[in-house]
Amino acid sequence: MDKTASVRILRVGRVTEAMLEARGLRKAYGDFEAVRGIDVTVQRGEAFGFLGPNGAGKSSTMRMVAAVSPISGGSLRILGMDPATDGPAIRARIGVCPQEDSLDGDLTVRDNLVVYARYFGISRRDAARKADELLEFVHLTEKADGMVEDLSGGMKRRLTIARSLVNEPEVLLLDEPTTGLDPQARHVVWDQLHRLKQTGVTIVLTTHYMDEAEQLCDRLVVMDNGVIAAEGSPLSLIARYATREVVELRMGVGENDDAAAQVGDLAERVEVLPDRVLLYVADGEKVLEEAVARGLEPLSTLVRRSSLEDVFLRLTGRALDE
């Protein structure tokens, strides 16, 4: 049963089928435009990410995709349906893991799942079976009869993810799935999302963590100020918008600009940040040697691979956490 189900999902996965299709999608709150015309297509089985800083319009986009927030302009189809008219039918087939936990602290861990499943019209027997299965999946079986308020932040998050799966959704929407979690808890969540991906569930997530986007997404869009700044796989974005390696130079106070002028010609591109100078180069070690040979005396240095962080910096001129 287990096996045939996954085979079936994989077969369907080969057919290209848009689970989500947005064209010129807009969202305005009064005079403020949070989303200013974005085009997005997500295929079945994909893990797709919206990457961007707070206020980029990611959460507004997610609420429209979750069929709870009316669109202000453009068009949006989810599972081929129009959220304006088919909201309940769409929501029956998607799972939503909101940014803020909306678990009921007065109910037990298991009851949170069962009660939520019943909202979908799932029978009592199926709901109970599914709840136990999902508790196992997110490693909360031992907490099943405990109260939600006694769970740690990471456990609550896993329970919220479990809850978003009770209706066996075809698309799972995760808004900032690991924001506020400690590193260990984040890895547990990532592991579970990886396993879900393997079962063929389409995943759409937002994040402002570069490593999360690189870990989980097959493809992503970089969002800034309500528009899409770039689109591609994490690797292709890095290849297109950054060099292979980055040399980070931490200089003394007020020395950044001088340093940039002194060694800028060694790099394809230079970024001067408040606390460091970034040199975008093909071979980091070689450039660092050369810089030191020219008499540069940084307080500390770091040679690393380029990441989506650098892509974002290139595209927006800002670091993600600014």
């Binding site: 029956a92 009921d104 019943r118 009592r124 999902l134």
Partner: protein, 284 residues
């Protein structure tokens, strides 16, 4: 970590269409019964022992003075339409309890649904619609009022102040109606409130003064003419009158006015609640 055995398997049947209003209500029953199961003990005490104490102290104790009141030159029970004070306040107390129960379930629990536990946002991400969530809240509160009124009616019956079985049934119906007429607008208000301090006002400015001067404990005709007019314009008084007709069996055609009035208030409150929930859940 193995991926077999622990991965979510297929096999849950999830209805895909848009649920009807009725189906949507049924889908919320498991949640609300879980809530009732968790909280019934406290309410069982509030709606049996406490009203018995009130009837004993006010009805029998204070009533002893009232019923002999003519000795001091007062009107005594004549102003109560010939009823004993116990028989007079019993239906009033049922109506007031219904209003209190309705308000109690409509203030903090509703506010919590938007702020503390955010359950309405959770419901909203399922195949339920905002309309369904509002219906669920109103019906749930009405059922809580029904349970409270059912219990208190048994207590009142033990004091032998209900004329007939039919009267007891009518009392329950009338009390649920006045409870709903207060709950529905309060649900709208709690949906509008953005601070929990706003909820205390419901009691301090609304429910408590209204119920004190509603004809539950003494005839509103005793009040200055202006206050009397205000009291009679408020829904509590209509509920009290209706409950008293039920226990005494002295039903006049005014009953229809009371019923209609309370239904209109309930309907308006329901519509306002719908609007408020729409604002917070539907237009984000």
């Amino acid at each position: 970590m193995s991926t077999t055995g622990t991965r979510p398997t297929a096999g849950v049947r999830t209805p895909t269409g848009t649920p009807t209003a009725w189906q949507a209500l049924v889908r919320q029953v498991p949640y609300y019964t879980t809530v009732v199961r968790r909280t019934w003990r406290g309410s069982a005490f509030s709606y049996t022992v406490l009203p018995a104490l009130v009837l004993a102290s006010l009805g029998l104790g204070l009533g002893g003075f009232v019923d002999d009141g003519t000795q001091g030159g007062g009107e005594g029970t004549a102003a109560l339409g010939g009823l004993s004070y116990l028989a007079y306040i019993a239906p009033g107390m049922v109506a007031v309890t219904a209003v209190m129960a309705g308000a109690g379930e409509s203030t903090f629990p509703v506010y919590a649904g938007f702020t503390w536990n955010k359950i309405y946002f959770a419901m909203r991400s399922t195949s339920l619609q905002v309309r369904d969530i509002v219906n669920g809240v109103v019906v749930y509160v009405a059922v809580r009022v029904l349970i409270a009124v059912g219990l208190i009616t048994v207590v009142v019956a033990l004091f032998q102040v209900i004329g007939s079985v039919l009267g007891a049934a009518a009392l329950v119906g009338a009390a649920v109606l006045v409870g709903a007429a207060h709950a529905a607008p309060i649900i709208a208000y709690a949906g509008w409130a953005h601070e929990d301090t706003a909820l205390g006002l419901v009691y301090r400015v609304g429910v408590i003064p209204m119920t004190l001067f509603s004809g539950a404990y003494f005839p509103v005709e005793q009040l200055p003419a202006v206050v009397e007019a205000v009291a009679k314009a408020l829904p509590v008084w209509h509920g009290v009158e209706l409950c008293r007709m039920a226990t005494t069996g002295d039903v006049t055609s005014a009953a229809w006015v009371h019923v209609l009035y309370l239904l209109v208030v309930t309907g308006v409150g329901w519509a306002l609640a719908q609007r408020q929930f729409d604002r917070r859940l539907g237009r984000v």
